[in-house]
């Protein structure tokens, strides 16, 4: 047992208090050690270029105080695009183009704060008519004009006694001999085309209708057949008759377009048209397949990049006669890029996907159609099997891994989006089973995480969700 000793006690208390005092004065607090923090840097733009009217290109130049290379991006992709390394801007439309400059730093320098520069592009507006059709009395024909702005045009006639015109289609009907003057307008901008209307030398049956287009109708079992022109034979047209091949479907109408109703589906049918006047009916037009253009918006929910999702926006051409899809092309967003702004106000990088290289049946009346960024299907790794692109294969690694360079480091990276086309009713809402078969893969630099590409799939469709947990949630298909 110890015994108390007041002197020693006081000494110990003194020692402790001394240490406490010294420490509390800061003597023992650790001094600032070296931080991993790199040196700061800034970016400066040179003078903003001032492109002249109708100039479609300009070049910006920015430098980093570190001397490291600056990368450029457009935050206004609808107005302009920019080469990320050269700063060469390609204008797409009139408006203010905003270019952002970034420098991501290295082991010595911290990333620089982003800076932006605005450049204004102006394009003069023009409307140009295509060559004028030939018109005789009671003929119908189509005029066509385009606006340099890309805006839609409306048509009208300044000679209503001579001709009439459909304001949207440009379909002209000659009513009397004389000069038919058609005006095409886009806002305040206008242009005119004058077409002489002659009187035919003889009265005959109508000629074979031309410019026949058959597109999907407003219902899943109807087709809309439009006629681009008909030589009347000198007498007013009394109507059109549409017949099908294989035979069995007939429809009549007084004017274009003519709606054809099929018993259950119009798929597999081609159509031809003949016209009639008081003299009789003319010969039939050539057979026309039912060809319809659809717009597709496909969304993959990305839980790990919110609020940005992977979105494919594109269009396709469906030939319902042959059940073939062509020209699936569009753009795919890279959800890891851009600011924290959701579509449609986003500034994500959008990849062009213009190579439709696959269309396979799902075995249930639909097609799975895939469009690629490059003219090859090589997208995902074949290192441990797989064909290089099928959704769910390659474990999300880029094609050529590990020997080929990483797409984010100068290698070649591909991307694709797979959509579903319901051949019976393309505009119908997709079932969950159909949604489960949608997919995308993005092995472009903006979609890479190490050697893994961003992908979007479902466990039900392809065994797992995407590499960043992305999965398809919707596809809207609408007729254009």
């Amino acid at each position: 047992m110890h015994t108390a000793n007041s002197n020693h006690t006081c000494q110990l208390v003194g020692i402790i208090l001394t240490v406490l005092a010294a420490v509390s004065l800061g003597g023992c607090y650790g001094s600032d050690g070296p931080a991993v923090e790199a040196r700061p840097q800034t970016i400066s733009f040179g003078a903003a270029p001032g492109p002249n009217i109708d100039d479609a290109t300009a070049t910006v130049s920015a430098t980093a105080s570190s001397g490291l290379a600056v990368s450029y991006s457009s935050t206004t992709p609808l107005v302009c695009a920019v080469n990320s390394s050269t700063g060469v801007i390609t204008a797409k439309a009139t408006g203010t183009c905003t270019i952002a400059a970034n420098q991501s730093g290295n082991s010595l320098y911290a990333p620089a704060p982003q800076v932006t520069q605005n450049i204004t592009f102006n394009f003069s507006q023009t409307i140009i008519f295509a060559a004028a059709p030939t018109l005789s009395l009671y003929d119908i024909a189509t005029v066509s004009a385009t606006a340099s702005s890309g805006h839609p045009l409306s048509y009208s006639t300044t000679t209503p006694a001579v001709c009439s015109v459909n304001s949207s289609t440009g379909l002209v009907t000659a009513l009397s001999a004389g000069d038919c003057t058609i005006t095409a307008a886009a806002g305040a901008l206008q242009a005119t085309q004058t077409i002489p209307v002659s009187t035919p030398a003889a009265v005959t049956v109508p000629g074979a209708p031309t410019g026949i287009k058959a597109t999907a109708g407003t219902t899943s079992n109807s087709v809309s057949v439009s006629i681009g022109g008909t030589i009347s034979g000198g007498r007013p047209l009394t109507g059109y008759t549409v017949t099908s091949t294989p035979a069995g479907i007939t429809a009549t109408g007084l004017a274009s377009p003519i709606t054809v109703t099929c018993p259950s589906t119009c798929n597999g049918y081609a159509f031809s048209v003949f016209a009639a006047n008081i003299v009789g009916h003319g010969s039939s037009s050539a057979l026309t397949d039912v060809i319809t253009t659809y717009k597709v918006v496909e969304t993959f929910y990305e839980p790990d990049t919110q609020p940005r999702n992977s979105i494919f926006i594109g269009s396709l051409t469906l030939n319902s006669t042959t059940s073939a899809v062509s020209n699936l092309r569009g753009i795919l967003s890279e959800a890891m890029t851009g600011s924290q702004i959701a579509y449609p106000d986003d500034n994500m990088t959008w990849l062009p996907l213009n190579y439709q290289l696959s269309a396979v049946s799902d075995g249930a009346g639909g097609l799975l159609v895939t469009t690629f960024m490059l003219n090859t299907t090589n997208t995902l790794s074949t290192m441990i099997g797989g064909d290089g692109w099928t959704p769910g294969s390659g474990f999300g690694l880029y094609y050529g891994f590990p020997t080929a360079p990483n797409p984010s480091a100068g290698g070649v990276g591909n991307a694709y989006a797979r959509i579903y086309v319901n051949l019976d009713n393309p505009a119908a809402a997709l079932t969950q089973t159909q949604i489960d078969k949608l997919a995308y893969a993005d092995c472009a630099p903006g979609g890479m995480m190490g050697a893994a590409c961003m992908t979007g799939t479902t466990a039900a469709g392809y065994g797992s969700v995407g590499t960043m947990s992305g999965y398809p949630v919707s596809q809207q298909t609408t007729k254009q």
Binding site: H2, T3, A4, N5, H8, T9, L12, V13, I16, V23, S24, C28, Y29, G30, G33, A35, V36, E37, S71, Q103, S104, G105, N106, S107, A110, P111, Q114, P303, D304, T305, Q306, P307, M336, T337, G338, S339, Q340, S381, M383, I384, F395, G396, L397, Y398, F401, P402, N406, P407, S408, A409, G447, M448, M449, G450, A451, A452, S464, V465, T467, S469
Partner: protein, 735 residues
């Protein structure tokens, strides 16, 4: 400073000395040794103490020191890696409780606390464990709101005056059939009258363990890797786990000076409830400690230094993504203690002390390309946590019946972190915006905390005693609660030290937790405490500014994250109020004792704890459901046979904010036998005799295989299961 590279030659020398000494039959000297410990072996206030003898059965076949605590009332274990369980006391876990190894408060250096404090000491080295489950005296606690755990190596031994040098050695090995785990340990000690030199080493490894049945589909873990059976727990293996320690002790009269240098190396340790594994951990620590019995009392002074290099990546059961996802952490901790136990009188003891700790942390993730490059990701850069404590504790023995203890402690805690960067700040929505927002903050915080404890013990006779106490305790947030900044799920998911599979985002503005606890204990037993005993502890804790979590609803967090009732989610730490209360019951009863058949003793243990978030009404996360153990222990000479029955209720009080998973109730039967000779001990046991499939209530979410880098890469809803049937055998010898 002693370099660990020199350990092997030292070890060789010691082993040779040991062998030669053994050849000279010096084992008889073991009976004349004296302990170098300066501490009295008394049952602590509000605590439980287990000495080496009581630990024997557990430590022989365990490779996780935390498992030594599982028979202590009020203690439960969070599942983690094979050697890194996290103890919880009365529902408060991890750094809410203070864990010291040989007096050192070792710090984890990992966003997942993979290198937990108790992983730094091998079970074979543990000499005693003291657990303060109720009210922790201020001289033991500090910067913690739960209890305290003190794990100590066996004290150094010295030869008596006039006797020859003391030479001792020990070696052991174990095998666990489930997971094919095995390991070894050995050590040697050479001691004279005033000098003790020792060396010890242990190593263990294990394959993945198996549950008692299929708990998930058969699938591949890694791209193109082998199929992992439905009953195999992916990422539960570990290898290359080695602990080495060299010790030097000098004793002169009442003075003892100890210098210990230790190294823990882990080659690989899988974590089935984390989204990556530990691919390397190299921890070195040095501890210089003086204890002296002086005329006026006891004096302890200690200086220690810890250096940790820690690496994580995707283990072999996970997708590797071509490049892996390396994460590197380095941390250093310097700490010092000066404490005096001053005997003021026969009645009064005054304890004065001051502690200092400085912890620095660098947590960065190297670039691997694409959006995870071109720069390293700085998760916490130049994180600092600096602590200066002082305490005064007054213990008075008013009478043979009454003892009281009153203590006050002041903790000043400063934390800070440097500016950060993402892999590519040019990807503003993914990395840049969050980094810029964090860098714009004033990140330095200083907390002035104070604790108060008041304890009283009443012992009316040899067959009963009672304790009651009150404590106000404080804890400042750790660096991983204040400074992780990324709301990108891929990054946030890597910041998780509770094993729920969710992602966590720090909160610079977190305030310290302040707990007010009242605890009452009654202990009834026969005079020798051998024939029967019953101990009951009831407690209630109200925690102001308890650090819980809320759903992240800003930056990259979506409305779906806020509303989700299933699935993994992103959370941000937040201060809320909470309460915990419960009851611990333990007891033993000598059933029979005969000369021919030995003694038969029944033991029982029951724990109940309830945790509620008083701000939100939610349940607290990972609260152990009602559980009980009953054992029948038979002892005859050196033979001890134990049949242990364990029953655990279903966990249905779930944390909704974390989408915590339900676990079913279960019961297990374990059988263990041991036999001790003079120089050897053999342990044989069968754990989970009936190979029951069960989910560990505190095991966490199973994310141990497949695509674990992203939120939904692994399906939510599977809890980490417990181990299936395993035959364990261990042999330990000392000479």
């Amino acid at each position: 400073m002693l370099k660990l590279n020199n350990i092997v030659p030292v070890a060789t020398l010691l082993v040779l000395l040991t062998a030669s000494a053994h050849a000279e039959k010096v084992e008889e000297l073991s009976e004349i040794t004296v302990s170098g410990s300066t501490e009295e072996e008394v049952q602590p206030f509000s605590g439980s103490q287990m000495q080496e003898g009581a630990l024997g059965a557990r430590k022989s076949v365990s490779n996780d020191s935390a498992t030594l605590l599982q028979d202590i009332p009020g203690v439960s274990l969070y599942g983690a890696g094979g050697i890194s369980s996290l103890p919880a006391i009365h529902g408060l876990a991890d750094d809410r409780i203070r864990v010291q190894v040989d007096g050192m408060e070792l710090m984890p250096a990992c966003p997942n606390h993979m290198n937990s404090t108790l992983s730094y000491i091998d079970p074979s080295k543990v000499g005693s464990v003291t657990v303060y489950a109720g009210i922790t005296p201020v001289s033991v606690g500090g910067d913690s709101i739960g209890g305290s755990i003190q794990v100590k190596s066996a004290p150094p031994e010295f030869a008596r005056e006039g006797e020859k040098a003391l030479v001792k050695g020990q070696t052991g090995t174990f095998y666990r059939s489930n997971g094919n785990a095995y390991g070894y340990n050995y050590g040697a000690m050479l001691a004279g009258r005033w000098l003790n030199v020792s060396y010890s080493e242990s190593s263990s490894q294990s394959d993945n363990y198996k549950a008692g049945g299929d708990f998930k589909p058969v699938s591949r873990g890694r791209e193109g890797g082998p199929l992992i059976p439905g009953d195999e727990v992916g990422s539960s293996a570990y290898s290359g786990s080695t602990n080495r320690e060299v010790g030097l002790a000098l004793r002169h009269e009442g003075h003892l000076l100890q210098l210990n240098a230790s190294q823990q190396k882990v080659g690989f340790e899988g974590f089935p409830n984390q989204r990556m594994d530990m691919t390397a951990n190299n921890n070195k620590f040095y501890n210089l400690r003086y204890t002296g019995k002086l005329d006026w009392g006891d004096l302890e002074a200690r200086v220690s230094y810890q250096d940790t290099r820690h690496k994580m990546d995707m283990g072999p059961d996970r997708f590797f993504y071509g490049t892996g996802m390396p994460m590197d952490t380095k941390a250093n901790t310097t700490s010092a203690l000066l404490q005096g136990d001053i005997i003021l009188s026969e009645r009064d003891t005054l304890r004065l002390g001051t502690e200092y700790q400085y912890y620095s942390l660098y947590d960065s993730w190297p670039a691997v390309g694409g959006s995870m490059g071109p720069n390293a990701f700085w998760n916490v850069d130049y994180g600092q946590r600096e602590k200066l404590d002082a305490f005064v504790e007054w213990e008075t023995r008013w009478s043979p019946q009454w003892v009281s203890q009153l203590g006050v402690r002041s903790d000043t805690v400063r934390t800070n972190a440097g500016p950060v960067q993402g892999y590519d700040n040019g990807l503003a929505g993914t990395w840049g915006n969050d980094a810029a927002a964090f860098n714009a903050l004033d990140r330095e915080r200083t907390d002035y905390n104070w604790d108060l404890t008041a304890l009283a013990r009443y012992t009316p006779g040899a067959t009963q005693n009672y304790e009651a106490g009150y404590a106000r305790k404080s804890r400042s947030p750790n660096l991983y609660q204040r400074y992780p900044w990324a709301t990108n799920p891929m990054a946030a998911l890597m910041n998780n030290f509770v094993g729920d599979g969710n992602g966590y985002i720090g909160n610079v503005d977190l305030k310290p937790e302040v707990a007010n606890t009242v605890s009452v204990t009654g202990d009834w037993h026969d005079a020798s405490n051998e024939n029967w005993g019953l101990k009951a502890t009831g407690y209630y804790t109200y925690v102001e500014d308890y650090i819980d979590a809320r759903r992240c609803d800003f930056s990259q967090c979506s409305p779906a994250n806020v509303a989700a009732t299933t699935g993994f989610v992103l959370l941000q730490y937040v201060n809320q109020n909470a309460q915990l209360y419960g009851l611990d019951l333990s007891g033993h009863l000598l059933l029979a004792r005969t000369v021919d058949f030995g003694s038969f003793t029944g033991t029982g243990l029951l724990n109940y704890v309830r945790g509620e978030n008083r701000t939100t009404g939610d349940n607290l996360y990972n609260i152990m459901p009602l559980n009980a153990k009953m054992s029948l222990v038979h002892r005859l000479g050196g033979l001890t046979n134990t049949a242990e029955f364990q029953a655990v209720a279903a966990k249905d009080k779930l944390s909704q904010v974390r989408n915590e998973m339900h676990t079913g109730g279960y019961s297990l039967l374990n059988l263990r036998s041991s036999y001790e000779w003079k120089y050897a001990r053999l342990d044989v046991g069968i754990e989970n005799v009936f190979n029951r499939l069960y989910s560990m209530p505190l095991g966490g979410a199973y994310v141990g295989q497949g695509s674990s880098m992203t939120t939904n890469g692994i399906a939510w809803g599977t809890q980490v299961p417990g181990m299936g049937r395993s035959l364990n055998i261990a042999l330990n010898m000392h000479f």
